[in-house]
Amino acid sequence: MIPAIDVSLRILDPLDDHRLFDMRADAAEMEALIDERALGADTGSYFLVAPTYYLLARGVEDMAAVNDFLVAQRRRCPGMRGLFGVVEPKYGDQAIAGLERLARVGATGVVWSPRAQGMFGDDLLLADLVRRAHALGLLSMMRAAPYSTNEALWRTWRLAEQCENIPILVSGALQNFDSAQMIAQSAGGPANLHYDTAGWTVSTFLPRLTVILGQRLLFGTGGLEPFASGAERIVEALGQANVAEGMIGGLLGAHASCLIPTAAREARP
């Protein structure tokens, strides 16, 4: 088994896409969800990604609670190489403070979910925050929910153009047939965009995308399937398509190591 790095092991309730996690009351259940998805990660490692939906009745306090939970998982999860925390883009100065806090705790990056955060994916505010995150050493992950208008791929491409030369990792775009076609036919769009494999299906034509995107395609489950079966599914699909083992290995792990250099170092305590 080729060692794999899941760049987008998102905390997700498999029975409820829009579950509003209560970071206090649901902590134990969330840990169980992580463990279930991380099954098989002893053969590799993963980056833990914040849930998309969480209670925000206490505003900044609740936002911080999400990130505190992720940080706490470092001690518990040996396969965890890093984390993507959250910042609420519409929180003004508190959003910037949130980025700074994430940088201080050694987060790998920040995950933006325009749909869940009530934004358009190409909002100028979001572009500014992506630039700020980059300046703090944080990698931006951008959610691309299937057939969402707020997270439409054309908006992500516009955002990328506003953040030239800043790498952005798009999670979930391959779950959308039309987006997968768009990516394939446009050589991946803006060169600073990278894509994970979250949600890919037969309709995604993954072997073709593997060749087209090269280093810009990374293994990531998006929390939609367990680590081990996610990696196996890719190996099987690409093997059947006679994709070179080197390319498969790159997709499964090497590309992540290039994009996220901290993956090569141990996670901070």
Partner: protein, 274 residues
Amino acid sequence: MTALSFFDAHQHVGDLRGVPGARSGTAPLAEDATTRIAMMDRFGIAACAIMPGHSYCAPGGAADVSAINDRLLAYRALAPDRFPVVAGTVDPRHGKAAVAEVERVHALGMGALSWHHRMQGLPMDHPVMFDIVGRMADLSMVVMVHCYANGDFESPWRLRRLADAFPAVSFVALDAMTSPENLEQIVAAARQHDNICLDLSSGVLGADGIRRCVDQLGPDRLLFGTNYYSMGRPMQLEEQALLAAAELPDEATALIAGGNARQIFDPVASVSRL
């Protein structure tokens, strides 16, 4: 058209951030109200329902949303005969705290609540929305929801679920006419659920859209609405032009211009005299 007494069911106090070309920034309430009333006077709008801009910032969580609602109530107090209906909001992502806010604002005299779910981050038919609308049903409040075309969280099928669950609640679908398919879906929902009505703001279908609605639903389910945002100074109101161009019978036009809205909102705001 000046003989008609318009009631505008769809006005925002606030701005539409994040949309290129849209006005952003706010003015003091009194200045905002003066500008709004001048617009209303110019176009023969007797009264309106006001709601917030739904792209608000709420780093303080539920407390910030409460402040938004308090601001709307203060706005109404500036000219209660012109702004008789206040449709505040509660944030679905605040969970149970949102239900508590429903009770609070109702006690303060608010008769409706509004949402723009693609700006507020959860789908219209999320379980928490059922809790919220359930409480609104207990309090006989009106639900106003944006159903902008292709706004997946604002899809008409989601509205249908809520309308089905709460048949005694009046639902106003805003921005219904933003695509042919969107209107078709909402009209289909309204045919099944007589507690759904729709406004004619953002009418990309033109006068045909209005005629289509009247043809399928009758004239008493359509409300005049402009989607006006704070400090705007429009040169004309497209929605008035479209209503005139629809060339409906006078009685139907009068209902759409204001009669229907007055009927829907009268139980919560005594607007029939306005």
